[in-house]
Symmetry: C2
Subunit: 811 residues, 2 copies
Amino acid sequence: MEADDDVPLILTCDEANSGLLGEDADRGDENGGGGNYDIVNNVVIPTPGPQNYRTQNVSLQQSWEMNYQEAAIYLQEGENNDKFFTHPRNPKALAAYLFAHNHLFYMMELLTGLLLMVLSLCEAPAVPSLRLDVYVHATLELLALVMVAFELCMKLRWLGFHTFIRHKRTMVKTCVLLLQFVEAIVVLIRQTSHLRVTRALRPIFLVDCRYCGAVRRNLRQIFQSLPPFIDILLLLLFFMVIFAILGFCLFSMNTADPYFTTLENSLVSLFVLLTTANFPDVMMPSYSKNRWSCVFFIVYLSIELYFVMNLLLAVVFDTFNDVEKTKFKSLLLHKRSAVDHAFQLLVSRQRPMGVSLKQFDGLMRFYRPRMSARDRFLTYKALNSSSASMLSLQDFYKFYEVIGLKWKARRIREHWFDDLPHTTFLIFKGINLIVKSKAFQYTMYAVVAINGVWILVETYSLNSGFSWSRFVPWSYIVFLTIYGVEVLLKVTGLGPTAYFSSGWNLFDFSVTVFAFLGLIALAFDMEPFYFIVVLRPFQLLRLFKIKRRYCNVLDTMFELFPRMASLGLTLIIFYYSFAIVGMEFFADVVYPNCCNTSTVADSYRLTNVTIGNKTVLEEGYYYLNNFNNILSSFVTLFELTVVNNWYITMEGVTSMTTHWSRLYFMTFYIVTMVVMTIIVAFILDAFVFRMNYSRKNRDVVENPEDENGIVFEVEVSRDEALTTLELYKQTCPGSFSINSLQKVLQDMDRSGHTSLVYLGRRSRTKSDLSMKMYVEEIQEWYAEFTEENLPQPDQILEQNLDSLVPEPLPS
Amino acid sequence: MEADDDVPLILTCDEANSGLLGEDADRGDENGGGGNYDIVNNVVIPTPGPQNYRTQNVSLQQSWEMNYQEAAIYLQEGENNDKFFTHPRNPKALAAYLFAHNHLFYMMELLTGLLLMVLSLCEAPAVPSLRLDVYVHATLELLALVMVAFELCMKLRWLGFHTFIRHKRTMVKTCVLLLQFVEAIVVLIRQTSHLRVTRALRPIFLVDCRYCGAVRRNLRQIFQSLPPFIDILLLLLFFMVIFAILGFCLFSMNTADPYFTTLENSLVSLFVLLTTANFPDVMMPSYSKNRWSCVFFIVYLSIELYFVMNLLLAVVFDTFNDVEKTKFKSLLLHKRSAVDHAFQLLVSRQRPMGVSLKQFDGLMRFYRPRMSARDRFLTYKALNSSSASMLSLQDFYKFYEVIGLKWKARRIREHWFDDLPHTTFLIFKGINLIVKSKAFQYTMYAVVAINGVWILVETYSLNSGFSWSRFVPWSYIVFLTIYGVEVLLKVTGLGPTAYFSSGWNLFDFSVTVFAFLGLIALAFDMEPFYFIVVLRPFQLLRLFKIKRRYCNVLDTMFELFPRMASLGLTLIIFYYSFAIVGMEFFADVVYPNCCNTSTVADSYRLTNVTIGNKTVLEEGYYYLNNFNNILSSFVTLFELTVVNNWYITMEGVTSMTTHWSRLYFMTFYIVTMVVMTIIVAFILDAFVFRMNYSRKNRDVVENPEDENGIVFEVEVSRDEALTTLELYKQTCPGSFSINSLQKVLQDMDRSGHTSLVYLGRRSRTKSDLSMKMYVEEIQEWYAEFTEENLPQPDQILEQNLDSLVPEPLPS
């Protein structure tokens, strides 16, 4: 397709250039997007320095390979939103970069991070069944820390000392690492744990690892929302102080009122009141004296709870909205800049305006080593919208949209059983028609509904209490049989692949399988698995398929799931830090019948009490909400998050320690408030966004099942396939992946078609939705971005081509 | 200015025409906006019927007057968003309309509505101090009902029987009225009150009155948000039922666990758990048996509380957004259509394209009878942007923007003391400079801050408790003196009018005055006013002026206030209905030491209890949360709204009545959840809208103080004023309001200028903001609207002029 002696426009292997390129990209990135065309200016003067790792007699082939690799790295950086100033600049850095950028390394990072966090299960206030000796867990910790240190060394080699120092996150990590090292060694020497609050910093190792990018993004978003949040928080606290003074002046004369005796008490009461956790109680003593005192509380709650707190949500929501858009913009421009960089590395000096298949394939071999030759070719075809012989820069900009596609030949057969003998075909066809009919669907809905009512009535009639042995009524078996038959019919009628490609079918299938497992568990008396039986009612969720809005809601729920999970993880990381601090200070401070000096003694009581003339066991249970080990701490912290009655835990702990403990609980409340507000803002934003989107694109929503992804169509003719196969045989003769291309030819031969249509699919991401929503703004951004980077790329390229220093062309 | 024998294009006084006009407008309004140009078609065939109230010899002057009046009515209908099908059609209707549309009548409506509601303070379970005998309050009620009936009769006369029947709200009101009548008479005859749950419908009379339009709008918005809300609510309840079955199966074997003994118990526990009111408690018995049971509760809360509840907010917020925009659109188009109608009535047959000052003035005399001649003239000038001799339809469309302006001559003098003698002038000038200096402002901020810290420290040191007698420390007097001096300086330096025109200054002033009053109260031992003294800390709010964001927040808060108040009123109306139902069923059911059979007996206990070997008074106080009279009911309902510990009240009442009582409490929870979600959505929407707005118009926010309103500028020359005066003297010679125009001339003479500039100001409303935000969409709406109403107004007018039936022109 093109001459074999094409010379790369840019010679990556040239250190000076590569370095400068990195510097440029960095500078460009700082002022809003990579300044990429300067590179071309810089390439003009290749200054071979001492670190120059390209020998003059490097072959043209090797030059290209190096360009491919660098372009692949740029595209990876674009994908991962790595800043270009961390781009590797010399062979050592490159080796370190490659070492530190593969799934094995990421896995190691993740595991060490997890190991360090999991250690707290076994350390000092350990979960009883998991307790380890000090020397065991301290050694494990040291081991993990050495691993982290090793990872940091690799990073240092890749980034170089200068960049390493400038990279804030890494520096913090290094400091924490040193501290932990020292502490671990101290623990090992003293053979006992000291007050190790710094363990609360351990999540840093987890957060820093590649797979936790989403958590890092969440944390960044939380920090970005903080300034306006804090402003409103101050307003909140200000009103609280004013009302505390008022409350103290108004109610401290009432000796029966324990809530306003001192200013501090008054403040704490109003803080708790803000969370409503003590509400009618805090009002009651004064209310019983004077009915008008309720005005104070009503005004306070109206201002603080119903106004300022909502204001907080509004401000966070607004910031969130804004940040989401800015983030989307900068990601988009970063990717565009990465594509620019890669494009410059892939074009040849002879044809600077386009990337040929050969170069593209070279890139892909580095970028996605496991991709088959067929898929590489199809990706190229998908990019090449104008069907020209080369990819233009405009084509290449679609790179990230196309790269995730899963390719499949368009099915020629309608059903999976089309090839079977006629009688069998008819049977299956029949089943297929039944399964697809409305009547069948609605019958199943009816069965599910009847099942639901049945379970309800059955459970309701078990007034005397529930016991497992009685709980295999015939209805269970009947309904299970019906569901089993339904699954079988559907699988045979639609074919397994079609059946399992729908989320709802998967759900049906797994619920049915679970019900079967439950039955087996009951039959074989496996008590710990009894709970599976009670999961049956989830079958009822199927009923929500009927109504449109629920489908939308549930779909959105599933779309949101990854993001929600990462938010949950963020919350858990905060929990972890607080749990460690809590354990260090409050382990074993509460126990049954403690806290007798506090107002909440009742909740901690475990004793026989005489009321009137009756004696009863009064069990307060709150001693269970303790910080005795990390699991208990997590449950306690969840209870504090839910906020109700949290002051009982606070007062209990406070009465057994000092009143400074309240600071811990109040800080925790405020931190969870921030995270929760962010979560609410996120859900709000996601749903409102989706609803706006579906309002804008009514047509798309009409077929939610069909259109729930991005689809590309590529037609491959026999000639094309042959030429490509030849090309591939030339470039990488021994490669196994060529088989996939040969299979394409075989498929064509077998079906007798001269061309095959391939469909590339992927699920739609929020980014795709944003692309559609902001379609006008995006053009503006691009325009700004190009303006900032001054002259048009094409012009510059042409200008510089003339002034390029002629390279010695190896034959 | 124009010939005196101008003939109105449309003759209102012609009944058939007027009737048709009304019908048309009605039809047009139903399909999205009034169809106004058909009117012109219909006028072609005046069909004098029996009700025709225009005698042939009616004078031209009278014709015009009638047109003015009808135009004024149209504009009023546009302003109040009254549908045009309620437009009066004949002289009787007109009389009734005029009778029913003035502030006296509105006031009467409001007062009867309020009287009926206030009656419940004195009826059966009455507030002790306000109890009235049965015959007294029943007679009062009958009286109020007769008033309502009278109002309804007036409405019937105005609307006509047919429209009256079709008007749903009025029909409901009539039915409720009849019911109340019957019940009131029954009460009067039996001399005792029966179970009068229907009193819960009384708010209808209040809601229906003119001044409660905002409440009606809120209610409509709530009902519009209901369908999606109910959908998600079902999802919520569905999950609740599934988890209730699960919970029953898992925990009912634990005899120590009172929360899951039966399916009903299980459902109630999970409903309460949704509100988090029983949180750690509901988990504790099972958690103490098996630590893993916390998973059940965590999963339940994560799904229901943190996901579905937020979804609810998202859906309501989205619907709210949508409804706000639709409402704005329909209001805008309704107003436009009203202006169209009015314009047609004001143009003369000779000059159908414009409204002259004379006609405009005629209109204004009906539309704003109390407006002075000067203001009428200035309004005309403000509308007349092209300075042509007549107002075009386009000019006239601005009617509603201009009508609310308050006119003032631009001040020629800079300070209020410019006219004083030189020495005095210098003194005041000095004060003015001091007061305006940054140094003075920041000194005052410092004083306020010091005062704040002082109060805090002082209150904190009062650890032994607070008592009034000790509470006039010297610091109070010192700071008060400083504030007093500040107020004096500012008033003298800026002049009273300038000083009091700023909201912040008003705030300062009132806080200072209150502090003085407090001091006087202390000095003269007026105990009930002591609370004024403790309001001092509110002075600290002034500190929030320093930071931009707070200014914005507080400004928005004040802007939102009317709307918030109406939402609060809506909530109170719901409260009222629930309070009546609660009083009818639960009055006097809880009392100290009641509810011994329930799990919450502790909270109702008022007894001596022996714990270990100590005897203490245990006071549960919850017997105070009762439905014994309407005020107690309101407080109880507020506590239920805040949700914390609401189940104690519920369980207490339930244990003394039947378990169906729970339905009342759960319904109330869901209703308040709807209203509260709407409130949150409203605050979110308002703030996000404002922030978006200020992001779009950075410049406006730069000068928030200056630009916080709409300003129109009109220059009046001496000649114009003279001509207008002449015109006015002709049209309404005896009118007192002409004086205002004469004063304009006097002002000109005194100042020696040949022209004066007048400024019209009004505060900016949400509608103004919306106008700016949706500026592009509005053009589209107008275009659609005009299209729907077919040919261009100008063309139609000209076409129809030719075919107009010639009217006999009285000389």
